[in-house]
Symmetry: C2
Subunit: 113 residues, 2 copies
Amino acid sequence: MTKYEPDLSRLFHALADPTRRAMVTRLARGPAPVSDLAEPTGLRLPTVLRHLAVLEEAGLITSAKDGRVRTCAIVPESLAPARSWIDEQRALWEDRFDRLDAYVTQAMRETET
Amino acid sequence: MTKYEPDLSRLFHALADPTRRAMVTRLARGPAPVSDLAEPTGLRLPTVLRHLAVLEEAGLITSAKDGRVRTCAIVPESLAPARSWIDEQRALWEDRFDRLDAYVTQAMRETET
DNA sequence: GCTATAGTTAGCAACATGACTAAGTATGAA
DNA sequence: TTCATACTTAGTCATGTTGCTAACTATAGC
């Protein structure tokens, strides 16, 4: 089962910023150089680079340099742990209601004459 | 389509902390008073209260006071926006590959004698 | 080789976060 | 009424985050 999960923290933290989410969305459509990612943000390059570093440390993107251009790309399935955690919570919740339901059903049965 | 979404930022931010995730997991099993939530964390009450406030501001939990006990409960479906965003990214990604695939298929067809 | 382009590094300021202690309030029980 | 319980509020502190500017490096094109 789920244990320490510092990676989940980094993943969710990376996604908690609108600029970074926009970058992920952009990269979901295909790889792009740093400048292209910076352009729509209105932020300076060093700032953009920090955001990219956060995304990379979270495992959401990779990047490689070719000549003087660094191209970034999304890492497929990197969102899977986040999705799984969310699904787990829903499962716990539903399980709880199933049991509540069973309890109520049982109680009603016992109330019957 | 998705636009500003400051709520998504708050949601992901709230989930970016292991203590808070543990609280959500605990509450997924059923409501609990503040003290019960505090106990396994090893944290002081004021700290726990701040975490709960973050969760509440993110819309993940609700709480109500009965006598001197405040009982917290999870808000069902509050994770839905996070889940949707993640699914959207995957959809974009898959769409991109469908198109890549179509392109390659087309290219191969044109290469055929 | 010179120059423009595309990143990169270093360092700083402002604010946010997560923990704490100390002191206060409100309620249930004796 | 008195006391313990269950928060609650206020205030502090260390650290982390997000933005910036300035100065630097490396490569492509002429």
